[in-house]
Symmetry: none
Subunit: 215 residues, 4 copies
DNA sequence: TATGAATGAGACTTCATTCAT
DNA sequence: AATGAATGAAGTCTCATTCAT
């Protein structure tokens, strides 16, 4: 017998999360006070605590934005018949678009705060890892399918390549939030080249000579 | 005027920075209190404020670790006669080694905190940018020299490739501090392949077809 | 005018008081929140405020439990013909029984909270005083009747003895709620002895020699 | 290398405890805010937390006032040669004097608050119990010595009598803080009579007939 | 130079009470 | 009569910084 509907609850929750996202993106998690979130949300202190148990809960909810991940991943269908390399390109384009979407700027900035937070908040860390595992898994799968169809060099290590691509996008995200010049065409072009190059590379991914560097 | 020698001053300063590095790497900038730094340094509150004007000063000093950058870059000589591609590989190896050096773990973690801090602290941001500009510039120069010697595809965009490599290492650094499995051989192998592939790629870095994605 | 019967009103009120008694006995008046009482009562916040104007009203209602006093006092009839000393013993036994009745534990604990509350809440204080005045009066009367029948030393001060007995039971109540070992036989035996001894004592209750201690 | 002497530390601590005692005796533990204590002590918020870790620490320090116990107990020497019954009377007088000492009013009121607090704060409870164990033990010893010298009925249960005396004083304390008329001569006289009566009583402390009341 | 006690603004959170439904 | 979401003042405690010694 709730007094308000689930839709209303969700609306309030989003009201708070929107306010928090704005504050966090401007001032970071720890420079933002609950009073800032309260003021920006237009609610009262008490109301905010009706929807979130603590400031940390709000941080976690935003540091780990599952919604975003899914939105990007959904760009690539799960149609097994599709050309895996074409699908991989689609994925790259979807990420690149999100990376440069002005409406996603706040989210990008909060993501970077979340990366830092993940170093000392286990729940945030788990969420962040989970958030990068999804695309990594998808990329790995696409490469494996490409290998099985003879479209990708069979000596390649799909997981290593997936991690490389993920790392690449994390790095680009950083440069973006720091207002470094970041030309989406150049990104996409470079990554496309990389993909092409890695797909056809003859050299094994883990050559014997470099073993010495391992620790 | 100073009653203690410059050497003593430097020793004290490093004592403080060491303590702060330890604290920051464990708890982040804003979860660390001055009291933590004071206690860990073995000095007094007053003493710390004799060497740094504020906590922000200490954060800046550590978020921007020029020392580290120089150490890595010095791995690659400035000998213009040297094979630029070999030099590039050396640089990659030096970074990869730093990335997996256990003694550098604290610094890596503080770096990530600094990336987040750079979003709202202009001086930190400037320092961070400066820190990635140095290697980017060096990489760009090496690729340009390679192009001028006919060792690298002349259609490639050296700056874009340099940014890509920098982004890649930032991403790997993140995965490292999150304790993700990170095999240095695989990294180096993959990057080597990438370098080789990009050097010989026929496709232009910024093809006409992808223009549409630009915003 | 009321839309529900008086019986229903009383039932609701008791529902609230039962819940409050449970909460107060566990956590004290000020560590218990209205939310605790609301939850335990199974009612809503609004409903509780329909029956009590404020939390203080609930505290007062429980800190001053007239019901309990009457129940104990009723153990001793008002039959003027009865042997007053036997009646006094009955009263002592009734109190002692209540003191060790497991079902009264909550009430005992809340009583102690009430004693403390009486220090700063005039209405609670009045109720508490009233609650101890009733048995004190009854004891005084019994002793006076005993004196008039020649069963009790006529030099004794009935009021002083009554206050002494009341004090004694308050002290035993404290020891009980603190889970100190409290043997009911020993209590009753000791009090019986005291009563006997005081009834027959030759020494005046207020000897001249001790005047000096008075302030 | 403390900056201030232990004496200065103690002075500050007492400054805080005095302020807290005043506040607590007027408004109780939970109606008193830290701000009240801070204001009354003349110190700053931070200074108070330099000397006590939390409000609960201050409550504990005052709810359990060992100093007072010792002061009262010291009224009775430990001279084994002394007449134990005279010593017991001295103890009674010392307590009675404390009970009516105007300067001890605050302490008495806070004691009652402590009794209530002991119900839900284990550390306070332990302290309160300890505080009543000391005099109980002393009384028990005195009675045992009296028994061994033939000055006290050997059938008496020294522990039961000690507990009875302690309970009695707790009850008188309550009546005092509630501003009930409390004549010290009457108290002392009554207790004296009780002691005399119990010392010479023929009836055993735990008669068979009352067994039935035991639970 | 160096100390560390002291400051006080501001942090997060709770909770008795109200009122639109 | 009854609900429970909402309020916002007030609660406890922290912490970067200062300054008398």
């Amino acid at each position: 017998m709730p007094k308000i509907s689930q839709a209303q609850r969700d609306a309030r929750q989003n009201q708070i999360l929107d306010a928090a996202l704005a504050c966090f993106s401007e001032n970071g998690f720890h420079q933002t006070g609950m009073a800032d979130i309260v003021k920006r949300s237009g609610l009262s202190h008490g109301a905010v605590y009706l929807y979130f148990q603590s400031k940390d809960d709000i941080i976690e909810a935003l540091a780990v934005d599952r919604h975003r991940q899914e939105a990007i991943l959904s760009a690539v269908g799960t149609d097994q018949a599709e050309d895996p390399i074409a699908a991989l390109r689609k994925l790259v384009h979807a990420y690149a678009r999100w990376l440069t979407d002005p409406d996603a700027e706040r989210t990008r900035r909060v993501s970077v705060n979340g990366w830092s937070e993940a170093l000392r908040n286990e729940r945030v860390r788990a969420g962040v890892i989970e958030g990068i595992d999804a695309p990594r898994q998808m990329i790995t799968n696409l490469i494996e399918r490409a290998q099985s169809r003879g479209l990708w060099n069979r000596d390649a290590n799909p997981d290593a390549i997936a991690r490389t691509l993920v790392a690449l996008f994390q790095g680009f995200l950083l440069q973006k939030v720091w207002n470094e010049p970041l030309d989406i065409d150049v990104i996409v072009g470079t990554v496309d080249q990389m993909v092409t190059a890695l797909a056809t590379a003859k050299t094994p991914t883990k050559p014997r000579k470099q073993r010495a560097l391992e620790r």
